[in-house]
């Protein structure tokens, strides 16, 4: 794979940046995220999370099973603040 291939589409993070973080000693999916923003976007790492776990395994030699996924937090899908804030008819469909 070329270094300029995009791994996290939402935040447009490329393989090269992720590789650099791992080679500098970052060994968890969460820490790669904090370093590079991969997984911080609209889909919250639903696609790139596994690829990043595989990359960590590949570059550090840890087994893929030992690499924890990033923490998933609510909401499952993006939700308008108005719905949370209690206004019933806040947001036109």
């Amino acid at each position: 794979m070329k270094d300029d291939i995009i791994i996290c589409r939402c935040e447009e993070v490329r393989l090269g940046e992720i590789k650099k973080a791992i080679l500098e000693g970052v060994i968890t999916v969460e820490d790669v995220k904090r370093r590079t923003r991969a997984g911080m976007g609209l889909c919250q790492g639903k696609s790139c999370g596994r690829i990043i776990a595989r990359l960590i395994s590949q570059y550090t030699g840890q087994s893929i099973k030992s690499i924890l996924p990033a923490t998933f937090r609510p909401p499952v899908r993006a939700i308008k603040l108005g719905h949370l804030g209690g206004e019933e008819n806040c947001c036109p469909k």
Binding site: R34, I79, L81, L84
Partner: protein
């Protein structure tokens, strides 16, 4: 690789620990930083990045925050990394008459202490932030207040220290500290032991655990703050805006219990997401978000900036802040145990005070004294 010996061992790799290691390495000391997880992975990556001067108490608290800001400007120019430092000021939004009177006094107090704070009426506030609600009563505007990315700051300080020869060891846990003749002697970790005469406890919410290893009682309690992250949106705010009520909640835990989360703090970030916080709750080591907490934040945020109701959130999260009962951090030497130095308990001020904490603790270790008197911050004040 774990070194066998060091001048100083710092425990904790958040904004405080990484700042201390930077200033110590800069002074040429042989220094090791131990972090049980990743750099900046706990409290430092679970909050906003606002360097809030107008939320400080007049006196020494404000004074060190202003000194810290000076250091930030220097670091922005010196570091090889982008810490996303920006300076657009902050606003505290006033939502009723009582708050207006309280903020008039607060403004006077802080101005007398050297902070150029301005009290604005509704019209003036909405001139500089047009998306503020028509129903607000006014705002205070503090032009010196700034912002930084706390994660980038931690990485930048740690990496810069490493380039100057410091040993930065993430994923390394401290298991014990050995004391000989009432002096620090050795640090025991899951990867081996390090001989040292000086330990800095910069472990934030975990600082009491480190204290227990040497029989020092440290009154720091985790206080949870829940936050929301919005999608990336075109700019609707030019600077962080926070409910003025936050000031009361910050210093009076009783109010926080009644009005938990009813004072939103909205921070526009470099990337275009908004961070919206925050509750201040005592729930032990519980990192979960609650529907109630998130709902309260959403309601109050919309009350200040109505346009938010059509904006989506993509994540909620919570961080634990190291709370002390008087709202000040614990800094400096500890009586009865030579070589044990405290640098923890900043609660939400960690980001504002990180550079000055690093600078003063490094000065204390290297020279035995500090340019700002640390006696108001000592551990003994709680006895």
């Amino acid at each position: 690789m774990l070194p066998q010996i060091a001048d100083v061992v710092i425990i904790g790799g958040g904004v405080i620990g990484t700042s201390i290691v930077y200033y110590l390495a800069n002074r040429g000391l042989d220094v090791v930083l131990l972090e049980k997880e990743g750099i900046g992975s706990k409290t430092s990556s679970a909050g906003e990045g606002v360097i809030f001067l107008q939320l400080k108490k007049p006196g020494i608290h404000l004074k060190i925050a202003m000194e810290s800001l000076k250091q930030y400007r220097k670091l922005r120019d010196e570091l090889d990394y982008d810490i996303e430092f920006t300076n657009h000021g902050t606003m505290l939004i006033i939502q009723n008459d009582e708050e207006f009177e309280a903020m008039r006094n607060h403004t006077k107090d802080l101005r007398e202490n050297g902070l150029p704070l301005k009290l604005l009426d509704r019209k003036e506030a909405r001139e500089i932030e047009p998306e503020l609600s028509e129903s607000i009563y006014g705002a205070t505007f503090s032009p010196l207040d700034a912002q930084v990315n706390p994660m980038n700051f931690s990485f930048a300080m740690a990496n810069s220290a490493r380039k100057m020869g410091a040993n930065i060891l993430p994923y390394t846990e401290v298991l014990g500290i050995k004391v000989k003749k009432e002096k620090i002697n050795e640090v025991v970790t899951n990867k081996g032991n390090i001989s040292t005469n000086i330990v800095v406890n910069a472990a934030g919410i975990f600082a009491p655990n480190i204290g227990k290893m040497v029989n020092v009682n440290i009154p720091i309690t985790p206080r949870r703050g829940q936050l929301l992250v919005t999608e990336v949106i075109p700019k609707i705010l030019n600077r962080p805006v926070t409910a003025a009520r936050y000031l009361a909640i910050k210093y009076n835990p009783d109010i926080a219990q009644i009005a938990a989360g009813k004072a939103a703090a909205i921070e526009p970030t470099e990337n275009g997401n908004l961070l919206i916080g925050s509750t201040r709750e005592f729930v032990g080591f519980n990192y979960y978000t609650t529907f109630e907490g998130i709902k309260d934040i959403a309601e109050n945020a919309i009350a200040m900036v109505p346009k938010l109701k059509n904006i989506s959130i993509i994540r909620t999260f919570a961080g634990l802040r190291p709370y002390t009962v008087d709202g000040l951090p614990i800094l400096g030497k500890v009586d009865d145990l030579k070589g044990f130095i405290m640098a923890a308990g900043h609660e939400g001020d960690g980001i504002a005070l990180a550079p000055i904490t690093g600078e003063l603790i490094a000065e204390l270790i290297a020279t035995g004294k500090t340019k700002i008197d640390l006696s108001k911050f000592n551990l003994e004040r709680f006895k």
